[in-house]
């Protein structure tokens, strides 16, 4: 059996651990990246936000006949927009997948918040490099810096963020049971934190601002201790303005290995794929909302697909190779339906464990913040596209239409695999270790529901035309899932100051952060979530619980027959989902929708887990 090669992007990397000091060697650059002592950061110039135009007439670049943005051909009613202004940080209409008219009363309207983009000359910044792998052992330390970087995407030079100047951030690989230390330094001109998503770690290091730690100001540092309790694929990202900071590149994976040699089936390659999208036009990213997030209704869908931060992800394999992919969705709101060109896919694991039983699947549905571990066998030579394949909705025309995004390509060489893993691949494993672990919780499967949450929203001060349009459609049809931005104009104009997404405790009537559930370590709690379809704008929500793990017990009353430990799970519109939560980790924790804009629009609650008797 060959040793699987694990890579991110096109870089191989390995780590030498010498006397407990982690030194990273990047195969391409051949330059040690760690430890590094960055110079004290110099605060950038105060960001100059363009003032909001008082009237349409004042908006720059309004009258530029003959010029059109890609994807906006045939659009009507755009006369009042700053479509062609040269200032990339000014408001301009986001591009659309299909042309549609603007609501007449919205012509010239922009979000009520100011536009924000990092206002730095990209040439003054270091060019980001592909992410590298950092192998760490128990007790190792690593420095991670969040900083401004220069990126080039679709031929456009952009100012983005990066951890250690990489896209994505370093993939930290460590064994289960290890504790590592991350010395985090903030060099972006905004407060931030790092949340270690899915890791059941010490509450002090969960990275929630003003709950588990103060936010890390520009130029300041924070020391995180991360204990890896569970094998699997995890990720890290900011927990401050995720809609901006995460979207601009602050994310990375954590791959926690297992001591058992046969924890997974043998494969020829292992690949960590981080799926993302970015909303941009010819001038760069569409600005974000400064005081509050834009796209609060549906979240910010991107129009440029990124795999490990690139638009041209490529993997070379031999014919017959089996690849284990660790998939992570870091997009703000997009749920992907990932297809590997018809190659057979076996699902192995998800957020916090393997499945009880492996299964064949035709595609992988992965919501924001979820992870899936799949194995794929490539039997035919040639190029195999990795695609996001959906039925998009054209809200104006009231129809579905097929839409495919190319995410990357697996190039399968003519030469046969050096090690044939067909037998293992063709076997669907029963994971007795997972089933045995879950067995301890089956006594709670039929327990009464402890807490019921209704997922809903309120709106205020949205433009009347948007309210009218939503009321016109409310109660007719809301899809179970939103796979695309079906109403880009209205979505863009809705800010988190006008849209309030709500987790409603139906027993107490309390909402969001007014909820304060109390539990003891060892409690096993059943939480039922109902996604109300009768609101003015229902939408699916990937609901994440910090610091604990849970099972999706039932969906619409139908028992889940193949369980897996999760930390994030989809609640489609009109659906009732029951989580059985293992309250194993003491502290003050969060539960929230992981659509970044919904989180910014308030869709979160807090709960406490105390040691018995405290």
């Amino acid at each position: 059996m060959t040793t699987p090669s694990l890579r991110i992007g096109s870089l191989g990397a390995f780590l030498c651990v010498i006397s407990g000091v982690a030194l990273l060697t990047v195969g391409l650059a051949s330059q040690p990246l760690e430890p590094q002592q960055p110079p004290p950061p110099t605060p950038p110039e105060p960001q100059q936000m363009p003032p909001m135009p008082e009237t349409e007439q004042e908006m720059p670049g309004m009258q530029m006949p003959g010029m059109q943005m890609p994807g906006m051909e045939g659009m009507e009613g755009m006369e009042g927009m700053d479509m062609m202004g040269s200032d990339p940080a000014a408001w301009r209409m986001p591009p659309m997948d299909r042309p549609m008219p603007m609501l007449p009363d919205l012509m010239g309207t922009t979000p009520i918040v100011d536009p924000f983009l990092p206002d730095v000359d990209p040439m003054s910044l270091p060019e980001a490099v592909p992410g590298a792998i950092v192998d760490m052992e128990d007790g190792d330390e690593i420095d991670i810096r969040a900083s401004l970087v220069r990126r080039t995407i679709n031929g456009k030079m952009l100012v983005m963020y990066g951890y250690n100047g990489m896209y994505p951030g370093p993939l930290i690989r460590a064994p289960r049971g290890a504790t590592i230390v991350v010395n985090f330094h903030n060099e972006i001109p905004a407060e931030t934190t790092v949340h270690w998503h899915g890791i059941r770690l010490d509450n002090r290091f969960d990275g929630v601002p003003n709950v588990t730690q103060p936010p890390v100001a520009y130029g300041e540092s924070f020391r995180y201790e991360i204990f890896f309790r569970d094998s699997g694929i995890y990720w890290y990202h900011p927990h401050v303005r995720e809609d901006i900071q995460q979207d601009l590149g602050l994310y990375g994976n954590l791959l926690v290995g297992a001591p058992e040699a046969a924890y997974y089936s043998p494969v020829n390659h292992e690949e960590a794929l981080i799926l993302d999208d970015l909303l941009m036009d010819d001038l760069g990213p569409i600005p974000y909302g400064e005081q509050a997030a834009t796209h609060a209704l549906m979240g910010r869908f991107g129009n440029v697909m990124l795999v490990n931060g690139t638009t041209d992800y490529r993997l070379d394999v031999a014919r017959g190779d089996v690849v284990r992919f660790y998939l992570t969705n870091v997009a703000n709101t997009r749920t992907f339906n990932v297809v590997f060109g018809g190659a057979p896919i076996k699902i192995v694991g998800s957020d916090v464990s393997k499945y009880e039983r492996e299964e064949w699947v035709d595609s992988v549905v992965i919501a924001p913040a979820e992870r899936y571990i799949v194995e794929v066998k490539f039997d035919e030579a040639g190029d195999v596209p990795i695609t996001n394949s959906i039925q998009a909705i054209d809200d104006f025309r009231g129809e579905f239409y097929p839409h495919i995004d190319l995410l990357g390509t697996v190039v399968v060489a003519d030469g046969a695999t050096s090690t044939d893993h067909s037998a293992a691949f063709n076997t669907l494993r029963e994971n007795v270790d997972v089933t045995s672990d879950i067995d301890d919780y089956r006594q709670y499967f039929d327990r009464p529901v402890d807490h019921r949450l209704e997922l809903t929203l309120d709106i205020e001060n949205l433009p009347q035309a948007i309210v009218l349009a939503m009321e016109f459609e409310a109660g007719l049809y809301a899809p179970p899932m939103e796979w695309n931005d079906a109403m880009p104009m209205m979505n863009w104009l809705s800010s988190a100051e006008q849209v309030h997404w709500t987790l409603l405790d139906t027993e107490t009537g309390l909402e969001n952060m007014d909820i304060d559930w109390q539990f003891e370590v060892g409690d096993v709690v059943k939480i039922e979530l109902f996604n109300d379809p009768d609101t003015i704008h229902p939408m699916n929500h990937p609901v994440h619980i910090h610091g604990q793990r849970f099972l999706v017990l039932t969906i619409d009353g139908v028992p889940n027959e193949n369980l897996v430990w999760k930390d994030t799970a989809i609640v489609p519109v009109g659906t009732t989902v029951q989580y059985l939560v293992d309250m194993s980790n003491p502290g003050d924790w969060m539960m929230h929708c992981h659509i970044a804009e919904h989180l910014e629009a308030g869709m979160m609650l807090g709960f406490s887990v105390r040691e018995p008797g405290q």
Partner: protein
């Protein structure tokens, strides 16, 4: 509190209906716990008019009768679409269509003197048709559908032919998936100034993808 407008799960409940002169046919429906069932009075068919309309799941399909087939005029049918099992919680085909388990159930449907009540599903354009099956003794048929927008059709077929690709008998009842309520906004509501024809309605839509033949 908003419990009055929420569903309590979507448990399929078979409600046995007693109607004089009609066969006992259960209906599969999702009932809100707070909706009290009005007991049917044996021998009094009028009691059936008192049956409360159950609070149906959001994606339920209300079957609308045609009145063209004798013995079906007082029938009522409900379709319930639930996601097919999936390790992802949402069941999607590789081309992105939802995959539903569909249960169609009728009550007060008089047994035909000849022929078979047969359930079909079809795309809205009726360019693709799938036979779901003959209603069983409980008045139900089950199957799987992988279209986002579809119609359900109950017909009275002369034969029980599993190989049939299109119905030939009269339509007894029909309904549409909830997505059928998704409509163009051209010419309506806030877009009432936008002419439908400009966007391809009332004429061949140039944006519409070609459909498989």
């Amino acid at each position: 509190m908003t419990t009055g407008r929420r569903f309590v799960g979507t448990v399929a409940v078979a409600v046995a209906l007693v109607a004089s002169g009609l066969p006992l046919v259960p209906v599969v429906a999702t009932l809100q716990a707070s909706v009290a069932k009005v007991p049917a009075i044996p021998g009094n068919p009028c009691s059936m008019t008192e049956l409360p309309t159950p609070n149906l799941p959001y994606y339920a399909i209300d079957m609308v009768k045609t009145g063209r087939v004798p013995g079906t005029g007082r029938s009522r049918g409900i379709g319930e679409a639930s996601f097919a099992r999936s390790p992802f919680g949402v069941s999607i085909s590789p081309d992105g269509a939802y995959i539903y388990n569909l249960t169609i159930a009728f009550e007060r449907l008089k047994a035909p003197k000849q022929g078979h009540y047969t359930v079909w599903v079809t795309t809205a354009e009726v360019d693709r048709v799938k036979r779901l099956g003959v209603l069983d003794d409980d008045g139900s048929a089950r199957g799987r559908v992988a279209w986002n927008k579809y119609l359900v059709v109950l017909t009275l077929e002369p034969e029980d032919n599993p190989e049939a690709t299109m119905w030939s008998g009269p339509i007894v009842s029909r309904g549409m998936s909830r997505s059928g309520m998704m409509h163009t906004m051209a010419g309506h509501g806030p877009y009432e100034g936008e002419p439908c024809a400009k966007y391809g309605f009332g004429m061949v839509n140039p944006l519409r993808s070609p459909r498989p033949q």
